[in-house]
């Protein structure tokens, strides 16, 4: 492309404008793309997929979400980690334009959910906490009716359904009623259903809650493939292993607030020690022991059934414990996880 060409100028202009008016950037970007000036490979990144500032969701006087600010970028896999009742689902409902925000600024795909709900939703895929499938219909029919909500032509839906059922590893159950599927299969079908409109953003609310380990791993594998395919994902979960596996970046939520934000490894590095030594002593109060070990660890957490010693080298500290004449019933040295980050930040465990 020639230097100083009108395209180039417009690009520079758009860039400048985008910096000026962050929220409106997407509109101009779309405009530029339609005119052929900006393409998806262009250096000019699109506006964030989701952008919220000081977002609040209030039910009567109770604030389920209490002023959170988050930016999710294109192609990212973004997580909301927190225990039940942290406000994750309320946040998802606001982002998926099903529930109006009580306060704050929210843009999804560059648009305002308040004024452009249907437009935004036509570009979203939502996997809600409950599957909301038509139980009396077959798998294929479920995809068909959902695709029809997006006004896709039947032929198109059937083609996509074949691919998606294959992706969800449900092809051989195509004509079965959903009633007959296991929980894991239903979740995979719900994900396939959410993909039928080829959304720009896939939102998954607690995708593996209630599934057995095998079904979870299968689902993770599918989500991982979506992620490597460049689909922008937003995932809520209260499983720290899930968040570590799937998320490029995440926020930790508690009581409607964000208590930490970053990449999983980074969060662990920032808020915890490399290793954790878990000690369990018979029936005796763990409190008493903790006093004796204070000099060995950076931090000690006392749980009802065990002690957590945050240390740099677990084995070393364990032998120090032994050398002080203590013989724990059970001991375990492990790496720090997001669970520990949550414990450090809130003083509570994620799953109780």
């Amino acid at each position: 492309m020639l230097k100083g060409s009108p395209e180039r100028e417009l690009k520079e202009f758009l860039k400048a404008v985008r910096l000026e008016f962050e929220g409106e950037g997407q509109v101009l970007y779309e405009l530029g793309r339609k005119r052929g000036v900006v393409d998806s490979e262009s250096k000019l990144a699109p506006a964030p997929i989701v952008e919220c500032r000081d977002l609040v969701k209030r039910f009567d006087s109770f604030a389920a979400v209490d002023g959170i600010s988050v930016t999710v970028n294109q192609g990212e896999s973004f997580g909301f980690l927190g225990p039940n009742g942290a406000g994750k689902t309320s946040t998802m409902r606001m982002i998926s334009c099903m529930s109006p925000a009580s306060e704050g600024y929210l843009r999804v795909l560059g648009q305002d959910p308040e004024t452009h709900g249907p437009e935004i939703r036509s570009r979203l895929g939502l996997v809600p906490q409950e599957d909301t499938l038509e139980l009396e219909l077959s798998l294929l029919d479920n995809l068909l009716i959902y695709g029809r909500y997006f006004d896709l032509p039947k032929k198109e839906i059937l083609q996509r359904a074949d691919r998606l059922l294959d992706f969800a590893q449900l092809t051989d159950r195509k004509h079965d009623k959903v009633d007959l599927l296991s929980g894991g299969m239903r979740r995979r079908l719900t994900i396939a259903r959410a993909l039928i409109s080829e959304p720009d953003l896939l939102i998954l609310d607690e995708p593996t809650t209630g599934l057995d380990p095998q079904a979870r791993h299968l689902l993770w594998d599918r989500l991982y493939r979506l992620k490597s395919d460049g689909v922008t994902l937003i995932i809520t979960t209260h499983y720290m292993d899930e968040a570590e596996q799937l998320c490029d970046r995440l926020v930790v939520m508690d009581h409607g607030h964000i208590v930490a934000e970053g990449a999983p490894r980074q969060l662990i590095e920032d808020h915890s020690t490399p290793e954790v030594l878990e000690l369990r002593f018979g029936n005796v109060g763990h409190e008493e022991y903790s006093a004796g070990f204070e000099d060995l660890a950076e931090r000690i957490e006392v749980l009802p059934d065990r002690l957590l010693l945050y240390v740099h080298d677990g084995d070393e500290v364990l032998s120090a414990v032994h050398s002080r004449g203590h013989t724990p019933e059970r001991s375990l040295v492990r790496r720090s996880t997001l669970e520990d980050v949550f414990l450090v930040l809130t003083g509570r465990t994620l799953v109780d």
């Binding site: 139980l135 009396e136 009623k177 009633d179």
Partner: protein
């Protein structure tokens, strides 16, 4: 901790006691929805008023075995038998299906000393108790509306209870085969025509001869005939056939129920 340690075996309650416990549990659950219980009395009352008084006024008298009786007197025992059937079928089917397939509360019950036989008898027993309560109310309403023809109407109560036992046994047996709510419509498909054509509303004499025979062999007809004969104070040998029919049907239903519950719950 001591309260959690194992104690010596307590004696397992006898079977009859277990069934009574289950009936009581069902009853408590039902009475908790007080409005549901109270409005249940309304149903037969409304039917008696509408069909007996409203339609009865149009019909006038009706000839049965040589005497002319008001239509309300004719239709009331039929409605009583029907309401026993509906009460037994709908209640047992919905309840049992819900507990079996949705809430899985039977699994919890079977973790106690209860057996599938107890469960079946518990459901049927509750159905009898419930229909008994409503039938007493029905008799009182009948008396209040002046639809009592003979003192023998009092025997309608055990007759209705027999109907409820028999139908709930069959209903539960059918429920154990149901896989979705849609299957209920099959039940409706049997129940509805029986209600309309088994002689509740008009005597079988309106049918041609062969159809009379067919209708007189339907399960509901046995109940209707039994209740009506008692209500009109007519005793026939045929009534023994009606009773035997209902007893056998109930026994078959019970047998199937017990076998199926064992298969479904104790695989």
């Amino acid at each position: 901790m001591s309260s959690l340690t194992l104690r010596p075996h307590r004696p397992i309650p006898r079977s009859t006691v277990r069934v009574v416990l289950l009936v009581r549990a069902n009853m408590q659950r039902y009475f908790k929805h007080r409005l549901l219980f109270v409005t249940g009395f309304l149903e037969p009352f409304l039917f008696l008023l509408s069909i007996g008084v409203g339609v009865g006024g149009l019909v006038g008298g009706i000839h049965v075995e040589g005497e002319t009786i008001p239509y309300a007197v004719f239709v009331a025992p039929g409605l009583m038998a029907t309401s026993a059937m509906n009460g037994a079928m709908i209640d047992s089917i919905f309840n049992v299906y819900f507990k079996l397939r949705i809430s899985h509360s039977y699994d919890a019950v079977l973790a106690t000393p209860m057996s599938p036989t107890d469960l079946a008898l518990g459901e049927i027993g509750w159905s009898i108790v419930r229909v008994g309560i409503y039938s007493v109310a029905f008799l009182i309403v009948m008396a209040g509306l002046g639809d009592v023809h003979s003192w023998m109407v009092i025997f309608c109560l055990p007759a209705a209870m027999l109907v409820s036992a028999s139908f709930s046994a069959v209903g539960i047996a059918a429920t154990t085969y149901m896989r979705t709510w849609q299957d209920f419509d099959l039940v409706m498909m049997i129940q509805m025509p029986m209600f309309l054509f088994s002689g509740v509303f008009f005597p079988l004499t309106v049918y041609p001869g062969w159809l009379q025979l067919v209708v007189s062999l339907t399960p509901l007809y046995q109940g209707v005939a039994l209740c009506r004969d008692f209500a009109l104070g007519h005793l026939h040998l045929w009534m023994l056939f009606n009773v035997a029919y209902l007893l056998i049907m109930g026994a078959i239903g019970l047998r199937i129920t017990i076998r199926r519950l064992a298969i479904l719950l104790l695989p």
